[in-house]
Symmetry: none
Subunit: 195 residues, 2 copies
């Protein structure tokens, strides 16, 4: 597909704000006709940029279960399968997979059996589970500009989603590539030995 341009981004922004805004109105603010906007939105859907049109629901008004954040550590080779299983579970709303394989899950657990529900959810796969009760949830759908990045702890380059991360002595470190990670870990370990 053709690359996204600035107009696509503005359309996404406007839709994120109000997905039911008429295409013609969107077109007016971005300088296109209604059908042209419609075409672009279809393309954005086909390309998978727009996953779906949906509603942001204030779940606190539905009193539907205990909101919890779960931090789970799972063996590296099971991260993907566990992530899929968990994401598919009823009551699970968000799954964030950290580069180091840690899963952060937001869900609404059944009343009175939060602990057992979480334990069942992960089965024997999790080596560590941390459950926190959540008090408030905010969602701000935004497209987000274009200029962001972490610095590689080794070489200072920009870390993209293809980068790597690791935990050393309780802290997380990010790298632009595995060789930077290897060099850094190597030096870290020698420092540890020396100390």
């Amino acid at each position: 597909m053709r690359d996204l341009d600035d107009t696509d981004l503005r359309i996404l922004e406007l839709l994120a704000e109000d997905a039911r805004r008429p295409f013609a109105a969107i077109g007016e603010t971005v300088g296109l006709s209604g059908p042209a906007v419609s075409d672009r939105v279809s393309r954005l859907e086909d390309a998978g940029v727009i996953r779906q049109f949906t509603v942001d629901i204030d779940r606190s008004t539905l009193r539907g279960g205990v909101p919890v954040l779960v931090e789970a550590t799972v063996p590296a080779d099971q991260v993907e399968s566990v992530r899929e299983t968990v994401a598919a579970a009823e009551a699970v709303e968000h799954v964030f997979t950290a580069a180091d394989g840690t899963l952060t899950v937001f869900a609404r657990a059944p009343e009175n059996r939060v602990r057992s529900w979480v334990t069942e959810l992960f089965g024997d796969d999790a080596t560590d589970l941390d459950v926190t009760l959540v008090d408030d949830v905010r969602w701000t759908p935004n497209v987000g500009g274009g200029e962001f990045a972490l610095e590689c702890a080794e070489c200072g380059n920009t870390v993209t989603a293809e980068g790597t991360s690791t935990r050393l002595g309780g802290d997380a470190y990010h790298f632009c590539c595995s060789s930077c990670e290897a060099r850094f870990v190597d030096r870290y370990e020698r420092l540890e030995e020396g100390a």
Copy 2:
């Protein structure tokens, strides 16, 4: 406002799946007319249950910055003000406030200055900051637990969004599938004839 009923919840479910589904189509599966669904949706918006209509965007396709999870500890008396500030910031998508006051924030932070961006975001308010690179994000908009699950009037199974509804003698009946509906309607009509 009048309390939410099962029909409202099913409408929310259907909208969460696809917010552009026509009201008439929603009405067909929940056993209402288009205008009736429209009325309910308006009420749900007024009541604040529906915060907004929006799009779920796959931000990984936008290459728009590095996704990070920030865990922040802030003094108890500042949790609310910090939460508001953070939620309002550009690039912040989610803010989860734990019952113990810990904030978990998902954001896409500015290029080449993630660390400083995060530090600035919280200013002097945070006593502890933990930043982790995120590799994958899943969102499953769902209305919430099985507590509101409807039972199929014919077989007792859980009625999902794929189920059907119909009105018989002024009452609404829900079914897990069309064959259950057919059987139920059939029996209902024979009872009516007999009476």
